[in-house]
């Protein structure tokens, strides 16, 4: 099964890339992914302040500032993984540092 992990939080903490790399929880998470050979693709997104949303309505392209959804939490990273089943995806997601203050949404990939 392939799953996209949407790494979410409210951006209040917003660690830098250097801080993320030095975080022992994040290191352990990366080591776990490597051991499982589960990561297909991973990217961290810049904060939502730099987001742009495009909508097309009645043939007209509407561009607006900010994220698509007005929610408390924002997607801060996307990791594509391949693993046996949802339980393994849950185990992987639970190891991500953002799970401790934000949340990780697990979305099966339409294949």
């Amino acid at each position: 099964m392939k799953y996209a992990l949407l790494i979410c939080d409210d951006e209040k903490i917003s660690p830098s890339m250097e801080e993320m790399d030095a975080d022992p929880v994040h290191r352990a998470w990366q080591a776990d992914l490597d051991r499982r050979g589960a990561e297909l693709l991973g990217m961290r997104l810049r904060p939502v302040a730099s987001a742009t949303t495009v909508r097309v309505r009645d043939g007209e392209t509407l561009v607006s500032d900010g994220p698509f959804a007005e929610t408390k939490d924002f997607v801060g990273g996307v990791v594509l993984i391949e693993c046996a089943d949802l339980d393994e995806a849950i185990a992987i997601a639970a190891g991500h540092p953002y799970a401790q203050w934000g949340g990780v949404e697990i979305r099966p990939v339409w294949e």
């Binding site: 099964m1 799953y3 046996a84 089943d85 949802l86 339980d87 995806a89 849950i90 697990i106 099966p108």
Partner: protein, 406 residues
């Protein structure tokens, strides 16, 4: 050999109750197709009704039904190309013997229970799926039991099955490190089914009985786990008091129930099951609740109840599974054990904390304690407060009665 129609009917009914979940679980295990599994199980039971009167009831009805259902599944899969591809993957199914196998079919129901109760499914869907696939209730029966329109219930079940397939929820017994958490989820589903049947009795299907039956199955499948035994004991001890719980639609509190009408057989079994669980020396929330229920069930009356023991059990329960409702119950036990002022002090603490705001049993408990302390005016105010919050007619009538007799 032919068999009497009534005997066959009874045998098929018994097999439905005992074997439905096992047949469905085995078919899901083989095909991973939940709808196909249910359809073929249904057909196998129809085939039993048609052929058992002529051929006699087989020695092992479960094996007969499972084999018949497997054949139906094979036939159906052969009919379409997608199914044929699937069949080639399912070597086990393709090799299904023509005669019922002599060896025991491994019990697949454990995988089914854990999959139905997976935490990635909405709680109501776990309950519905468990009743449909393990207990064999129809969607209409489940909808009626939970006061939901049948199409909504059908959709709930369809969505849950779709999520199992699309999100990759595994069909398995969870590994040891996940077992405590996942087992707790299974027990919560069974206890909700029981309580639904207990609070909203339905003449057609006895949900409390279904929950007790499923708990017995779970114990056979996980004999070393104490908490399923704790849950079974708790349900049996509640069930023993069921007929005395209301009188003509009015809630009868424990201290006023006619103890001579409690079911002694169920109480004895509940206590024995609980003792068996406790010897395993891993106490959990269900064992503690059952121990409290056992204190009540074995006491000759309110005065002869071991209240210090009950207060201690509530304290232990509060440490294992903290909850303001448990603290409220502890306050009642403390009032009985150490006197009303000690209990009232705990209730006042709870009231001040605001954690039970809007819960009718908080002012109702306070009112009972004030009444016993002879503080009639304060008791009246508290009963009126409880009456405004009480959710059911039985409870409103009880509180009205109390107010009148102050």
């Amino acid at each position: 050999m032919t068999a009497d129609a009534d005997v066959v009917r009874a045998a098929v009914d018994a097999a439905y109750r005992e074997e439905w979940g096992q047949v469905v679980a085995t078919l899901i295990g083989l095909t991973r197709d939940w709808d196909l599994a249910e359809d073929c199980a249904q057909e196998a039971f129809a085939a039993a009704l048609a052929t058992w009167p002529r051929d006699g009831v087989p020695a092992r009805p479960g094996a007969w039904l499972t084999t018949t259902a497997k054949h139906r599944a094979t036939d159906r899969l052969r009919r379409d190309t997608a199914g044929q591809a699937k069949l080639r993957q399912l070597a086990v199914l393709a090799r299904a013997p023509e005669q019922p196998p002599v060896e025991d079919i491994p019990d697949e129901r454990l995988r089914l229970i854990f999959t139905c109760c997976h935490p990635a499914l909405p709680f109501e869907a776990r309950v519905a799926l468990t009743l449909r696939t393990l207990a064999g209730l129809s969607t209409a029966e489940i909808a009626r039991a939970f006061l939901v329109a049948e199409p909504s219930m059908a959709q709930r079940i369809v969505r849950a099955k779709r999520k199992i397939a699309e999100a990759g929820i595994p069909y398995r017994v969870p590994p040891a490190e996940l077992l405590p958490e996942r087992l707790a989820a299974v027990l919560a589903v069974l206890y909700l089914i029981f309580n639904q049947g207990y609070d909203e009795p339905d003449g057609a299907r006895d949900l409390a009985g279904e929950a007790i039956h499923l708990a017995r199955v779970l114990i056979r499948l996980l004999p070393d786990e104490p908490e399923p035994r704790g849950l079974l004991a708790l349900m049996l001890l509640h069930e023993a008091r069921r007929s005395t719980r209301t009188d003509d639609g009015v809630l009868v509190p424990l201290e006023r129930q006619d103890r001579s009408r409690w079911d002694r057989t169920l109480i004895d079994e509940g206590v024995a099951v609980l003792d068996d669980a406790l010897t395993r020396r891993r106490r959990g929330p269900y064992q503690l609740q059952a121990a409290i229920a056992a204190c009540h069930a074995t006491a000759p009356g309110p005065a002869g109840t071991d209240w210090p023991q009950i207060a201690a059990l509530y304290a232990e329960l509060g440490r294992l599974a903290p909850s303001p409702v448990v603290e409220l119950n502890r306050a009642v036990a403390v009032a009985m054990a150490d006197g009303v002022p000690a209990g009232l002090a705990l209730v006042d603490e709870l009231t001040a904390s605001g954690r039970l705001d809007g819960y009718h049993l908080l002012p109702a408990t306070r009112a009972d304690l004030l009444r016993r302390d002879g503080r009639v005016d304060a008791a009246r105010t508290a009963y009126e407060e409880a009456l405004a919050l009480a959710p059911s007619e039985a409870e409103r009538r009880y509180l009205t009665d109390r107010l009148r007799t102050l």
